[in-house]
C-alpha cells in the first residue's frame, strides 16, 4: 500500500468516526430522536411487569414521538340511504319516529331493526329468524357447536356480511376480534386517519353469535383535522405501560400484553345518546391490547387512562 492510499483510508476512517461522534453529540439536540426510551425506563418496566405478573409479547416502539390533538365530528349518514343498504327489500320496511329520543327507527319483520340516532350513531339489529323458528318448533340447535367458532371464522362472517350489504365504511380497517362469550364475538374495525395512516379507534363493531351476524353498531367520525400547531412530545411507551400496570394492580395469574401502539381513541361514545356532541378534540393514546382482547387507552400526553370522559351534571 502506498502512502496516498493509506491517507485515503485514514481520511475515510476519521470521517466516519466524526460522523458517528456528531450523531451522538448533536442529534439529541436536533430532537430527531429525542427522548428515546432509556435503559433505566426499560428496566423499570421490566421490574413492574414481573412484580404485577404480566409479560410482554410484543416489540415496543423505542423512540418518543411527537403528536397533537385531532379535531373530529360525528359522521351523519343519510337515514334513507342506510335503510336501502341494510334492508334487502325496502318495501316492507316500516319507519317509526321516536321524537323523544331524537332517532329514526326502521323495522322489517324479516330482516331486523335499524335505529339511527341524531348524533350519527346507528345500530342494526338483525332479525334472528332461524333462532325463532328453532324455538317455535322446539327443535335442537341448528348452529355449529359454539366451541368450534374461531376468531378467524367470525371475521370472515363479518366481512362477508359487510360486503354483501355494502355497509363497511371506506376508511375502515380490521382491528381485532373480541370474545364476549362462547361463540359470541365482536369484530372491531378502526378508522384510518387520512394521509398519516394513524389509527383512530372509534366504533364499528359487528357482533357474531352462533355463526351469524346479530348486531352492527357504528359511530364513525368525520372531518378529521390534525392540529399541527399544538404538536407536543408524547410520553414514552414504557412510562405509559408502567402507569397502566399501576392502575390494573397485580394479577393472580400471568397476563400478557399482545399489542402496543400509538393512535387516537374516541371516547365520546354513549349508546344512551345523552350527549349532543357536535365537535370535539381527541388526544393521542397509547393503546394496549391484552391477550383476551381487553383494550386500554392511555392518554399519550398525560398517561391517564382514557375512559368514558363525558359527564353531564
Amino acid at each position: 500500500m502506498n502512502f496516498s492510499r493509506a491517507l485515503n483510508v485514514l481520511i475515510l476512517a476519521f470521517l466516519g468516526l466524526n460522523l458517528f461522534l456528531v450523531y451522538h453529540i448533536y442529534l439529541p439536540d436536533l430532537r430527531l430522536f429525542a427522548g428515546s426510551v432509556t435503559r433505566e425506563e426499560k428496566q423499570r418496566l421490566e421490574n413492574n411487569l414481573q412484580e404485577y405478573n404480566y409479560e410482554l409479547n410484543t416489540e415496543l416502539p423505542s423512540q418518543t414521538l411527537k403528536s397533537s390533538f385531532l379535531t373530529v365530528k360525528p359522521l351523519h349518514l343519510d337515514p334513507s340511504r342506510l335503510k336501502q343498504k341494510y334492508f334487502r327489500e325496502t318495501e316492507g320496511v316500516e319507519a317509526l319516529h321516536r321524537e323523544e329520543a331524537n332517532r329514526v327507527v326502521y323495522r322489517c319483520e324479516q330482516e331486523g331493526e335499524l335505529i339511527i340516532y341524531e348524533n350519527g350513531f346507528y345500530r342494526f339489529l338483525v332479525e334472528n329468524k332461524e333462532g325463532k323458528e328453532d324455538t317455535e318448533e322446539g327443535s335442537k340447535e341448528t348452529t355449529v357447536p359454539e366451541e368450534e367458532m374461531h376468531r378467524e371464522k367470525a371475521r370472515e362472517i363479518a366481512e362477508n356480511f359487510l360486503k354483501e350489504r355494502g355497509v363497511k365504511p371506506q376508511d375502515a380497517k380490521y382491528d381485532i376480534v373480541k370474545e364476549y362469550g362462547p361463540g359470541n364475538y365482536g369484530v372491531v374495525y378502526y378508522q384510518k386517519m387520512p394521509e398519516t395512516n394513524i389509527p383512530v379507534y372509534s366504533q364499528f363493531i359487528v357482533e357474531i353469535k352462533g355463526q351469524r351476524v346479530t348486531k352492527i353498531e357504528s359511530y364513525w367520525l368525520n372531518k378529521l383535522e390534525y392540529q399541527k400547531d399544538r404538536e407536543m412530545e408524547v410520553i414514552p411507551v414504557t412510562a405509559a405501560l408502567v402507569r397502566l400496570l399501576e392502575e390494573l394492580g397485580p394479577g393472580s395469574r400471568t397476563r400478557s400484553i399482545e399489542r402496543v401502539g400509538l393512535g387516537y381513541y374516541n371516547p365520546v361514545y354513549d349508546s344512551r345518546q345523552e350527549y349532543r356532541v357536535e365537535k370535539w378534540e381527541i388526544p393521542p393514546v397509547w393503546r394496549v391490547v391484552m391477550e383476551n382482547g381487553e383494550v386500554y387507552y392511555l392518554n399519550a400526553f398525560t398517561g391517564n387512562l382514557e375512559e368514558g370522559i363525558m359527564r353531564k351534571e
Partner: protein
Amino acid sequence: MEKIKMEKIKFIILFYLVIQSMVFTYILWFGSPDYEEIEYTVKEPYVFQERLDIEEAVTPSAVVMPRDGEGVYFLQPGMPACDTIWEKSRELLRDSRREETEALQAAGVEEPEAVFYFDPPFPLTGGILRAEEENIQVTGLEIYELPEDDGIREVFWKVHGYKEKGEEEKVLAGSSGSETWKDIKTEMEKAREKEARVYIKVKEEEIEEQLPEGMNAALQGDAGYIYLPGENVELSSLFLEKENFSAEKLIKAIFLDPNLVRKIEERDQDVIYTDGEKFLNFSGSSFKYSAPPVEGGEISPDYNQALKKAGEYLCHFGGWPPALRLEKVSYYAGDSHFREERQRYRARWNYYHRGFPLLGEGKGVWMEFNDRGLASYHREVWGFSRKEGVEKEIATASEVMEKIGGIYSGEDEENKAMPQTLKQLRLVYFAKEENESLAEPCWAAVFDREMLILQAHDLEILYKGEVEDEFFPGT
C-alpha cells in the same frame, strides 16, 4: 509535483479530521462546558383575585339597631351601610381585649347599640380578639357603648357563639378605638336615615297562630323568632345582567397545563373543556366544573380551614365580587363506601341586591371540596342592571300567611300533602327560568318538605317544590 501537492492536501484534511475527532471525543466524554444552565420555568396558574382573609369571608346576615318606638332598624347584606358598618366594627373588634363577664353589668348598660347576626358563623380567631388564642364561631355580636366617664373603655362587645367542639361560648371584650367608634356611630346614624328598613321581631307562637291548622313554626337557627318588615315596603322588579366571564382565563386558572386541554362542543352551544380528569362545562357565561378523581378524597371538620379554602377557590377561579355573599358552609361526614358520599365541605354564595338574595334555577355559586381539592363548582353570577317598572307596595307578612293557609288548607288534591313546619319566611328576588334576566320581588316560605315562592305584590305562586338545598331552589 501534482502528486505531492495532492498528498499535502490529503494530509491537511486528515490532520483536521484527527483534531476534530479529538475535540468531539472530548465533548462526548466530558459533556459541553459551554451549555447554559437549564432554567426550569414552572407556569403559574392564572389567579383571578388574591384570596381574602377568612375574617373577610363572612359578613353579617343582619345588623339590628334599636329604634324609638315600635320595631328596629334592620340592615341586610347588599346594603352598602351594612358592609361599611361591619367593616369598621371588625376593625374595632380586632383591637379588643377580653374583659370579665361581670364588667358590663357593673357598667350599668342594658341596651346594645347594634346587634350583628351571623349565618354562617363569623370566625373569631386569636388574630382578631388579641388577648385570646382560641377560635370562636360567632353567631351574634352585641356592641354596647359605655358611659363617657368610664375613661378607659368606650365599647363592650358581647360575643355569642361556640367553640369548635360545640360548647356555647359567651365572651366579653372591650375596645377603646375612639375615632373608629365615632365613625361607626356616624355610619349607623346615616343608615337609620337612609337605607335601614324598619322590621319587627315576630315570635314563633305569633306566626303559628296565623298558619293553617296542623302546621307549626320552627324557625331556622332555633332563635324562636324572625324579623319581618314592620312598615310598608315598596319594591320593583329588577333587570339583571350576567357577569362577563373569560373562558380562556378560567382554563388557565383551573388546568395545570392548558396545552393538554381539549375542547368538546355540544349542539346546544355548551362547550366542555377537559384534560381527562377535570371537566369545565361552559353554558353561556355560567359554568360547571367537576373533577371525579377528587371526589374520592376526604376531609376533617375544620370550619376555619373550610372558610379559607372556599374563599381561596372562589377568588382564584373567577373572583369574589363584593355583592356575592357566602351563605352557607356545611360539612358532610359522608359514607366511606360510596365515592359520591365521601367526606366533603359544601359552600354556597348568593348575589344580594339591597338586602335580598337573588334566587332561581342555577343562580349563585356553590362548590364542594375535600383534602384533594375542588371536586365540583357551579357559578352563575348575575348583577343588578336597572329597575323595571315602578316601586310598588308589597303584600304584608300577614297576607302571606293567609295565602299560605289558603294554599295548604284547600281541598285541592294536589295540596293534600301539607308540609308540617315553617322554617323561614323572608323577602327575596326570584328569576323565573323562562325569563332569567328579570328578577321579581317575592316572599319565600321555606317548609320542612318544600319551598314556596310567592310574587310579593300579588302573591302569585312562582315556585312550589322541593327544597334541595335549604331555601335555594334548583340546586
